[in-house]
């Protein structure tokens, strides 16, 4: 079960030697992301004259935690990922999503791509792709995800 947590606001600092530091504070649960960032920006502006660090970022984290934690259902390593590469709405724009520890049940066992290509016709993968295509997701440059173009296993470092 994923239990909601209070939003975590954070200001990132860097000193003259390049050392990073973070200041964190919890926010009330009803605060929206936009108003949280505005409040955090005001907080950062107030703190800036008090510190010899430069402020490099402000961020707010909304999250839920698994409680209780359940053991992993399989033995695959997290670095074995199922990479889904998408075409985006703008020409030449792409996006990628990697599923950690992709279960071998979703890897093709025959044909030229055996052991590498993902079986995108399997119901769970097809459902995941449907959620991403024409959904809320975009690439880091705000181009909407529109179509799957490749799906295969990647072993990330």
């Amino acid at each position: 079960m994923l239990v909601p947590q209070l939003p975590l606001a954070s200001i990132e600092f860097v000193d003259g030697s390049g050392n990073l530091a973070h200041m964190q504070i919890r926010l009330k649960s009803e605060v929206t992301a936009a108003s949280a960032l505005d409040a955090l920006a005001a907080l950062a502006a107030t703190i800036a004259p008090m510190t010899d660090c430069a402020i490099t970022a402000i961020m707010v984290r909304y999250y839920r935690l698994a409680d209780p934690r359940t053991p992993p259902p399989g033995t695959e390593r997290a670095s074995t990922t199922g990479a889904l590469i998408f075409d985006c709405a703008d020409e030449g724009e792409y996006a990628i999503l990697r599923v950690p520890a992709i279960n071998s049940d979703f890897v093709r066992v025959d044909g030229a791509g055996a052991g590498v290509l993902l079986d995108v016709d399997s119901a769970p993968l097809a459902a995941l792709i449907d959620l991403l295509v024409d959904g809320l997701a975009c690439n880091p440059f705000a181009s909407d995800i529109v179509e799957l173009s490749a799906a295969y296993v990647q072993l990330v470092p």
Binding site: S79, T81, A83, I85, G113, P140, F141, A150, Q154, L155
Partner: protein
């Protein structure tokens, strides 16, 4: 190390590098770090670099090879139709389904008289029939030019030759050659 994105990327040619299938997950996985902003000199380099890296990862197992295979199949079907006369039907465009499936081996034969082999067979039958008088599936005009010329020669050698008969034979020869 932070990279600067190549300024001549758009105009540069692509190279096809053979990669053992089992190495694809490892090589592609190594590219993940290049998808991070920290790998690039600035935001513009990151934007261009991110998409160039993903375009490469995409090609490793997807569209490039699929396009090549599809292009190869199109070429096969074009030659199969032109040479042998085998007809193909596009059942669906997306995904592309064409029937009949490409066979492992093409049996020698003529599947349409409009194919190259069909037209060559037609020419062969025409020549066989016209020259030798051989009856073929497409042509059954007899006798052939050789027989007619021989009969003209024979007639010219005879003493009581009727020129109108010879002219009639020559007209038939001319008709066969028309």
């Amino acid at each position: 190390m932070r990279y600067t994105f190549p300024v001549d990327y758009a105009g540069a040619p692509c190279y096809v590098a053979a990669l053992n299938r089992t190495m694809v997950p490892i090589v592609a996985g190594q590219m993940a770090i290049m998808e991070q902003p920290g790998s690039w000199q600035n935001a513009d380099d990151y934007h261009a670099g991110y998409n160039a890296v993903l375009a490469y990862e995409r090609c490793l197992m997807a569209l490039c090879m699929d396009d090549l295979i599809a292009s190869n199949d199109r070429l096969y079907r074009m030659l199969d139709t032109a040479i042998y006369g085998v007809g193909y039907t596009v059942e669906s465009v997306d995904p592309l389904i064409v029937t009949p499936a490409i066979p492992p081996q093409r049996t020698l034969g003529i599947y349409s008289d409009d194919s190259i082999l069909g037209r060559m067979e037609d020419l062969k039958q025409l020549l066989q029939n016209a020259l030798n008088g051989t009856e073929t599936p497409h042509y059954d005009t007899v006798p052939g030019i050789r027989a007619l010329l021989q009969s003209i020669i024979d007639a010219l050698g005879a003493e009581d030759t009727d020129l109108s008969d010879i002219l009639a034979q020559l007209e038939i020869v001319a008709g066969l050659l028309a």
